[in-house]
């Protein structure tokens, strides 16, 4: 038992000594925290307008007000509170969109990669066709058809991005199915489905972890783009892209309306990408051998 504890400690140290992983992890935790607790920690109702207090600058600037930490927008709404609520949209889309995109993509990839032949041809050609639409255009068209709303944004992201999982994982499955332990599994009479689930799937988990974090970043960007052009959530739900679209009109008088949501998006996406990178370094045994931490 002492050995197990020690091993866990060594493992934990390896994760924690990776700067990218730590930074990305903190960003992710922060996002989860704000999106869960937004109603409790936000100082104002995000939609509360105050015509007498529009475009108040952040508190440290002249004319700033401590009750509006990051100032107000052109309708007098509290920017900080809107950012907190905006993280809910971002996280919902990142988590739900990524989960289902991954589920669809990975399932199809496992079948395509494992059975090859006709099944693979069918799935892969379909992916090829799907991918040949520009993703942003496809999501805009989808939103126009589906209408606005949080679940619909997530659905659009799922429909656009499952192909990314499918492509990458299929290649990895191709690779794994040729390895001897698959033959060995057949030689002890395991069935195909069991081989896929028990022998192949665990071996794509490291790659999948990385893809998931990348995809979460992408989902946040896509949502921001859609809400920027007004095709995402309803106007009553604060989202970062919307805030940027609004702030763009007042960029010369009140930069904070646009800059803070932009910083949120950049930090989130950068954090998630670095998390993916860090995870790859920590999880990939080959990089360990090269002396990387």
């Amino acid at each position: 038992m002492a050995d197990k504890k020690k091993a866990r400690l060594v493992q934990a140290r390896r994760f924690l000594s990776n700067g990218k992983f730590v930074f990305g992890g903190i960003v992710l935790l922060l996002l989860v925290f704000t999106s869960v607790t937004a109603p409790y920690i936000a100082p104002h109702d995000p939609n509360e307008q105050d015509i007498t207090a529009t475009k108040i600058p952040p508190f440290w600037m002249e004319g700033g007000d401590a009750s509006h930490l990051l100032g107000t927008d052109s309708l007098g709404r509290d920017v900080f509170s809107r950012l907190l609520y905006g993280s809910r949209v971002a996280m919902f889309v990142a988590v739900v969109g990524t989960f289902f995109a991954g589920l669809i993509g990975v399932t199809l990839a496992l079948f395509a990669g494992f059975y090859r032949g006709a099944i693979d041809n069918l799935i892969s050609r379909f992916v090829d066709i799907w991918i040949s639409f520009p993703p942003i255009l496809l999501s805009i068209v989808l939103m126009a058809v589906l209408g606005t709303g949080l679940t619909k944004v997530a659905l659009a992201i799922i429909l656009v991005d499952w192909t990314r999982f499918c492509r990458v994982i299929r290649g990895e499955v191709f690779n794994i199915r040729e390895r001897d332990f698959i033959l060995a599994a057949r030689a002890i009479a395991l069935g195909n489905l069991r081989i896929i689930v028990k022998e192949v799937f665990p071996n794509i988990v490291p790659l999948l972890t990385v893809l998931v974090t990348l995809e979460m970043g992408i989902a946040i960007i896509v949502e921001a783009i859609l809400s920027f052009v007004g095709l995402s959530v309803e106007a009553s739900v604060p989202a970062w892209g919307q805030m940027i679209a609004l702030g763009r009109l007042y960029i010369h008088q009140a930069w904070w309306i646009m800059v803070f949501p932009m910083m949120c998006i950049i930090t989130s996406v950068l954090g998630l990408n670095l998390l993916g990178d860090g995870l790859r370094e920590v999880l990939d045994p080959r990089l360990k051998v090269l002396g990387m931490k």
């Binding site: 090859r116 032949g117 390895r179 001897d180 332990f181 033959l183 060995a184 599994a185 057949r186 030689a187 002890i188 009479a189 395991l190 069935g191 022998e199 665990p202 071996n203 988990v205 045994p285």
Partner: protein, 322 residues
């Protein structure tokens, strides 16, 4: 003689490729008696692995068993349903592959990989299976099995890993084990240990072994009988001692000559001239003809040489002995 445990009869395995038909295995016949260790020797690409895989009906996609029979305990394996076949795999016939690093799943502990077979074929519950697995590891010479069973494959050395693979292969008391170059990926000292282990286990459990290798040196110590395969055809088969003392086929002789020996002064390593090549659409004559140093004038135009008995128990496929 009693009925053999496994009898391969005139097995043909073809691959249809864009360039033509690759005859990976062309009319191979082979008998294995109970408790016997048979060596199948040949160079890379000679079809020896295909013979091994075909016994479990696991030949790669694209390959087709065109004709022949594989009779195991009176049943023709080639005519069984997939369901019946799965009862045989891992239970009556199991397999040891070349590289223990790749034949164990890197994502799982040794324990779960061992329990898979035991639970599937023996119907043990988790607890029983674990006890049996630990017992097996102990018998197979893994120190501290209670602890090592919780390790991942990469935490064990190559020799240890191959011991685990052998333990899995023997875990359901199979009647036949197909060992496809099980020691090629190991260094020589470990190789000797693993071979001794395999031989002891085979004697202890009365398990027959089809031992596939390119190394004649291994065959000498391990096998009861040896078959030499070239380009999908068995060219010579005999008792090990007979084959070593009295090799008849030019290919077998060439193989013996190419074993480096310190007692013969040689400037260079001897090798067999030329390459085997890929048997796609080859003319229907002795496959070794292009590289043979002992060929006769008649060889080129004589069709498909059949097995000739040089002595009752020593078969050769060569015109010289007709």
């Amino acid at each position: 003689m009693s009925d053999p445990l496994l009898s391969i009869e005139k097995l043909r395995i073809y691959f249809r490729l864009p360039r033509g038909t690759l005859k990976a295995v062309e009319g191979v016949s082979l008998d294995i008696s109970r408790g016997q260790i048979i060596g199948l020797v040949g160079e890379s690409g000679g079809g020896k692995s295909m013979v091994g895989l075909s016994v479990l009906r696991l030949i790669p996609e694209g390959g087709r068993i065109v004709s022949g029979k594989i009779v195991f305990e009176g049943k023709n394996l080639l005519s069984l349903s997939d369901y019946e076949m799965r009862h045989i795999r891992g239970s009556d016939i199991s397999m040891i592959l070349q590289d223990p690093l790749t034949s164990l799943n890197p994502a799982f502990r040794i324990k779960s990989q061992m329990l898979d077979v035991l639970r599937l074929h023996k119907g043990y519950d988790k607890k029983e299976a674990e006890l049996v697995a630990i017992e097996l590891l102990h018998n197979i010479g893994i120190p501290d099995p209670e602890k090592n069973i919780y390790k991942y494959p990469h935490q064990l050395s190559g020799g240890m890993r191959q011991r685990v693979v052998i333990a899995i292969a023997f875990s359901c008391n199979p009647k036949l084990i197909i060992a496809d170059e099980p020691t090629t990926a190991l260094d020589v000292t470990i190789q000797a240990q693993i071979l001794r282990l395999l031989k002891n286990l085979s004697e202890e459990y009365q398990t027959s072994v089809l031992f596939i290798t390119h190394d004649l040196g291994i065959v000498a110590n391990l096998c009861d009988r040896v078959a030499v395969i070239y380009a999908g055809e068995i060219v010579e088969a005999a008792h090990t001692r007979e084959l070593f003392l009295n090799p008849k086929h030019p290919y077998t002789r060439a193989l013996f000559r190419s074993i480096p020996r310190h007692d013969r002064k040689q400037e260079q390593f001897q090798s067999i001239e030329g390459m085997m090549g890929i048997p796609i659409d080859w003319p229907d004559r002795c496959k070794f003809y292009p590289r043979c140093t002992e060929k006769l004038d008649t060889c080129e135009h004589t069709e498909s040489v059949d097995f000739l008995a040089y002595s009752p128990d020593h078969l050769v496929r060569c015109l010289k002995y007709q």
